[in-house]
């Protein structure tokens, strides 16, 4: 099973449990913090062959105690540690967030621009993509000066490209024949 599939399976289980107890948002926030912490570790820091079974149990107990050992997230962390899947936390969190958004009728978009955008410009982009996707849009902005001008938007696995960089590249390809 691929890591993404593993993460999706754990995320679905956690989401359904959180939805049953009405703790989806709280669980999502805690999971995001933990995933950020795990994501900041060096790659392989939680590799499956680094810890013995007892060490994993201890790690799970400590992490669960931090977030509340009787909470859904605490029990979930203990389960992940027991199953040697702690390194899958970022993937679990991404899937969980996607499920959260789907359940709430939201979509996340990533806007890239060469310069910071005005509030009006971001609002115009957001409302346009709400119309395109039919869902409420949560946008994130990333500055990339290699774009020269214009913006690109990544939404639901698609990239909408309105940058000058891409237009120049297209022009260069046409000239090169």
């Amino acid at each position: 099973m691929t890591p993404a599939a593993v993460g999706r399976r754990y995320a679905r289980a956690l989401f359904e449990l959180a939805a049953e107890t009405g703790a989806v948002d709280a669980t999502g926030e805690g999971l995001a913090e933990l995933a950020a912490a795990v994501g900041s570790l060096e790659p392989g820091a939680l590799a499956s062959d680094l810890f013995s079974e007892s060490q994993r149990e201890q790690l799970g107990t400590v992490l669960a105690a931090k977030v509340g050992k009787d909470s859904i997230l605490g029990r979930f962390l203990a389960l992940l540690a027991r199953n040697n899947r702690l390194d899958q936390l970022p993937a679990v969190q991404a899937c969980f967030e996607q499920m959260q958004d789907e359940a709430a009728g939201r979509v996340r978009i990533l806007v890239r621009s060469a310069t910071p955008l005005t509030t009006e410009a971001r609002a115009a982009i957001g409302s346009r993509f709400e119309a395109v996707t039919g869902k409420k849009v949560i946008d994130a902005l990333e500055i990339d000066d290699t774009l020269l001008g214009g913006v690109t938007v990544e939404a639901q696995g698609r990239i909408y490209d309105g940058s000058i960089r891409t237009q120049l590249a297209r022009l260069e390809r046409r000239m090169a024949g």
């Binding site: 410009a121 115009a124 001008g149 913006v151 309105g162 022009l171 046409r174 090169a176 024949g177």
Partner: protein, 196 residues
């Protein structure tokens, strides 16, 4: 085995005996001239009698084995002649066979030479044809390679020109792009986004 000429030998023996008898008779006659003619005739008659007795004995006892020997010898000679004839015919047959074989050999040699010549000619033709084909192929490959090189050089030149043009355009855009342009670009992008 030495074969004597029997008929002349017998004749010579008889003549010698006759002459001896005559000589003896002449000698006796010489003595008789002194005395008795009748005794001389008796002696002569006795000599003839001896001679004919000798001939008779020869004919009776010596001639049959001589004749047998001669017949045997004749048969041997005839057999030898027949064998010689057979051998000669056999030799002739062998000679003819050899002549035929020689002719066949000559024909084989001539045919082999012809086949070799034809084969060599075919090889030469084939080698020539292959060499021509190889030369044509090499020429075509060289032309194709030159064509490809030219096309590649053209592509590289066009790509380089395009890259330089894009680079210049980028510098120009960076220098001249204003906030109003950026706003306009975002607005055009928003207007251009369509439902997937």
């Amino acid at each position: 085995m030495r074969h004597l000429p029997l008929r002349p030998a017998a004749f010579s023996g008889a003549l010698l005996l006759a002459l001896t008898t005559v000589s003896f008779a002449s000698e006796e006659a010489g003595h008789a001239a002194e005395g008795h003619d009748s005794a001389a005739r008796l002696t002569l008659g006795f000599a003839f009698f001896n001679f004919f007795l000798f001939v008779f004995l020869l004919r009776k006892f010596a001639w049959p084995p001589v004749k047998d020997y001669l017949f045997s010898r004749r048969s041997e000679v005839e057999a030898a002649m027949a064998a010689a004839k057979n051998a000669r015919e056999e030799a002739e047959t062998i000679r003819r066979e050899f002549a035929i074989k020689e002719a066949a050999l000559e024909e084989t040699r001539r045919r082999m030479l012809e086949e070799l010549r034809v084969g060599a000619e075919a090889d030469r033709e084939r080698a020539l044809k292959d060499a021509n084909a190889a030369a044509q192929r090499m020429k075509a490959e060289a032309e194709q390679q030159a064509h490809n090189e030219l096309a590649r050089a053209r592509r590289e030149l066009r790509a380089e020109a395009a890259r330089l043009a894009a680079e210049l355009a980028e510098k120009d855009i960076r220098a001249k792009l204003t906030d109003a342009d950026r706003t306009r670009l975002v607005r055009e992008f928003v207007e251009g986004v369509a439902r997937p």
